[in-house]
């Protein structure tokens, strides 16, 4: 925890320019996009699965190594590192990846076949739905005829109305209207926690 706080202090002073450790000439760039360097070559062969991507259900976890069974029958070994970002309803910590969760992972395929994960999205779903009813902090949704219960998580769930910046106020979501929901699935249920709902208001 102290480590995290130290790190935040360092990063805060770096970005606000109050740090003394700024290095010489190469440090100063312009805002122009060409100053950014080319991304690492990540070109999968046409028709072949992207080697730097994995998806599936977590079947086992041993420390920072995750085993996942892909929906196409492939198995993936995914290595978490200190630099891996984890999303599970919100940006969270590595220990939140649990057995039974579904995940998408992007990273770099190592020579030994493990995927060194750079980003992991756990239980993330993206659904186009009809809002059929609204209860106390719960949205009842219809997705192609299947019922889905969307739990509103105060403090985390956000709403984007008409493409405007997100707000925490979900009260303008209307019964009977279409919406798009990004959320975190609760494994083996028809329930999700709502991260962001896109709706017309």
């Amino acid at each position: 925890m102290t480590n995290t706080l130290d790190r935040r202090t360092l990063l805060t002073s770096a970005v606000l320019g109050t740090t003394a450790t700024l290095v010489g000439a190469t440090a100063m760039g312009s805002l122009a996009p060409e100053t950014a360097f080319a991304a690492r070559a990540q070109s999968p062969e046409p028709g072949a699965p992207d080697p730097n991507f994995a998806e599936g259900r977590v079947t086992a976890r041993d420390g920072s190594m995750i085993l996942a069974a892909g929906s196409d029958g492939r198995f993936h070994r995914i290595q978490l590192t200190g630099g891996t970002s984890v999303w599970k309803l919100r940006p969270t910590t590595l220990d939140q990846v649990k057995v039974g969760d579904g995940l998408y992972a992007r990273g770099v395929l190592m020579p030994d076949g493990t995927l060194a994960a750079e980003s992991i999205w756990v239980n993330i779903v993206n659904l186009k739905v009809h809002v059929t009813a609204i209860g106390k902090n719960v949205l009842h949704l219809d997705h192609n005829g299947s019922r889905i219960v969307g739990h509103v998580v105060p403090g985390t769930s956000a709403a984007v109305y008409n493409g405007k910046p997100a707000v925490s106020d979900l009260s303008m979501v209307k019964v009977g209207k279409h919406a798009q929901v990004i959320g975190a699935w609760r494994p083996d249920t028809n329930e999700i926690d709502v991260a962001t709902i896109y709706a017309a208001a």
Binding site: A14, G29, G83, P91, A166, V175
Partner: protein
Amino acid sequence: MMGQVAALQALVIGVLLVWSSYGKLVGPLVGARARRTALKKFVGEERAEPAFRAVGGVELLIGAVLLLPPLWIMESVAAIALSVGFLGFLTYSRVASPDSSCGCAGSATAPVSWRAFGRAGLLLVAAVLASSADVSWSSLPGLAAVVVVLAEVMLFVAFSPELDRHWLLPLRRLKVRLTHPLAGTAAYDVPLATTQHQLLRSGAYRAVNSLLRSDIRDHWDEGEWRFVSYTASYDDRPATAVFAVPRLRYEPDEIRVAIVDDENGETVYRPSLLPVLA
């Protein structure tokens, strides 16, 4: 009174069948509607639309003869046969192709549910009752009979998902207006999604986009700023990109970025167009 209720069944069934046939016969979307039902599997994709239209034609015919005088016993026998056929088809849909639309009534599509079975069952009961009628529905029925039949019609409406938007959704909207179930979500806290939305539209983000290797790794607030960090790589060295985003304002141009080397903590990149804060 039962005799009058029985006589009115021809009117109820007739109206229901004519409404039901409408969605199978009229409009440019009949073919698409037909292919969404289990008929596609039952008679093949090619013949789904003609079969769907044929069912609609039979419904229209039986509905019309039920509504129009004279009174024939054959009318209600045909209605009984049709409702038994509906129940059989619904069972087939449920078993053979559960995802399909029931193609029941009107122009809306609705999946096969217990309500569809309820409606077909009610139709069967009504048709059996109609077969016992000995006068036409147009022979002035008493008030009690009308009340019973209105209750029956309401039951038909309750069993019709196609009609939900006319009564059920307005009722739910009214409930939301009265109880405000999501009012508790309004807060002064700015959601992270807002910060991210602003960040993605900033020049600072575009400038370092190709250096970023991860999604948001950490975020924290300090005064008017919200800081968001990503894993990055700079000159093939592990690094962290950190953005300072105005927390309470939408000012993408004020967003700052720095890239910090993970090993020695040095700031290796910071766009110079941004003024350094003292």
